[in-house]
């Protein structure tokens, strides 16, 4: 399986990549903003995408809309500190499959990953 992790923070990318390793996903591409993520999804096939919301250049929510606009159906988990209902609803409306609120414990992230991949398999 192959994952894309999009976050302007190297620390956040590192934490998510480590969590992915725990579920056996070792092939991970990294992007620093929404624009980079769109370029990567156009030339790669991913099984899951982790998208931060608050990033420079292009916000995560805009990247999600663009990815879905391009017809790419890869499951996306929004990983952000913005855990209020306004942002959750907006993300779901834009095509996000799951929502992980920072800060998170590894076990919470693993649960979300499994939950998301299971939903897609069904």
């Amino acid at each position: 399986m192959k994952a894309l992790v999009v976050d302007d923070s190297a620390l956040a990318r590192n934490i998510i990549a480590s969590t992915l390793e725990e579920v056996g996903i070792t092939e991970v591409d990294l992007a620093k903003d929404g624009t980079e993520s769109i370029e990567l999804v156009q030339s790669n096939r991913y099984d899951i995408i982790f998208m931060d919301w608050n990033m420079p250049v292009m916000q995560g929510i805009e990247a999600v809309k663009e990815i879905r606009h391009q017809g790419i159906t890869t499951p996306i988990i929004m990983v952000t500190g913005l855990g209020d209902e306004f942002h959750v609803k907006e993300a779901i409306g834009a095509g996000v499959n799951n929502y992980l609120i920072k800060p998170f414990k590894a076990e919470t992230a693993i649960e979300k990953i499994k939950e998301t991949l299971k939903t897609v398999e069904v």
Partner: protein, 189 residues
């Protein structure tokens, strides 16, 4: 008849309750407490460390009492700025803990991490504030300043509340200022 000490305590409590001497410039507990709760959650979740809140202070400008400061702006229903300040030692302890190796100099890894800390802190507080205000609040991109040769003043944001904390990884300080501090009521707990 109250004793002088009782009067001093009463005055101090009143100051803390309104975070200022002027009601127009006060910062209410319902605004500040979400940042304190968010800091507790951040340290417990990321560092398995409890934190201890020290006595809050009021400042009229943001001055660098510690070595590294990360700032983030909040806009929308709530307009203000939040900062986290760290001594170098605390920042190195925190980043070393997360990367699982000793990091001994402040480099781009540390700067990146302290920006993420204030982002997560503000995000957690934002979520709680949204429940009170029932309107969206947005965050800016964090900024990190290293060094102590600066001062930031905001004429529209007359007061900064400064809350020092201690943790297993060292001390740190959170500062918050808001443009319209009277938008919600409450008492600082």
């Amino acid at each position: 008849m109250k004793t002088p000490i009782e009067n001093i305590v009463k005055t101090k409590l009143k100051e803390i309750a309104t975070c200022g001497t002027n009601s127009h410039q006060s910062i209410k507990a319902e605004i500040i407490n979400p940042f304190i709760e968010s800091a507790e959650n951040l340290f417990q979740t990321m560092f398995s460390s409890p934190i201890k809140k020290e006595n809050p202070n009021l400042q009229t400008r943001l001055e660098p009492t510690l070595d590294i400061i990360s700032l983030i702006g909040l806009s929308g229903a709530f307009q203000g700025i939040v900062s986290m300040s760290f001594p170098i030692k605390t920042s190195l302890n925190m980043v070393s803990y997360l990367y699982g190796k000793d990091i001994v100099v402040v480099d781009s890894t540390v700067i990146d991490a302290v920006a993420e800390f204030v982002n997560v802190l503000a995000g957690g507080a934002q979520s709680k504030l949204n429940k009170i205000l029932n309107e969206p609040i947005e965050l800016s991109i964090p900024t990190v300043i290293r060094g102590n040769q600066f001062s930031i003043e905001y004429p529209m944001m007359a007061k900064w509340i400064e809350i020092p904390f201690t943790s297993n990884l060292g001390q740190f300080v959170i500062r918050v200022t808001v443009k319209n501090p009277n938008m919600v009521g409450g008492i600082l707990s």
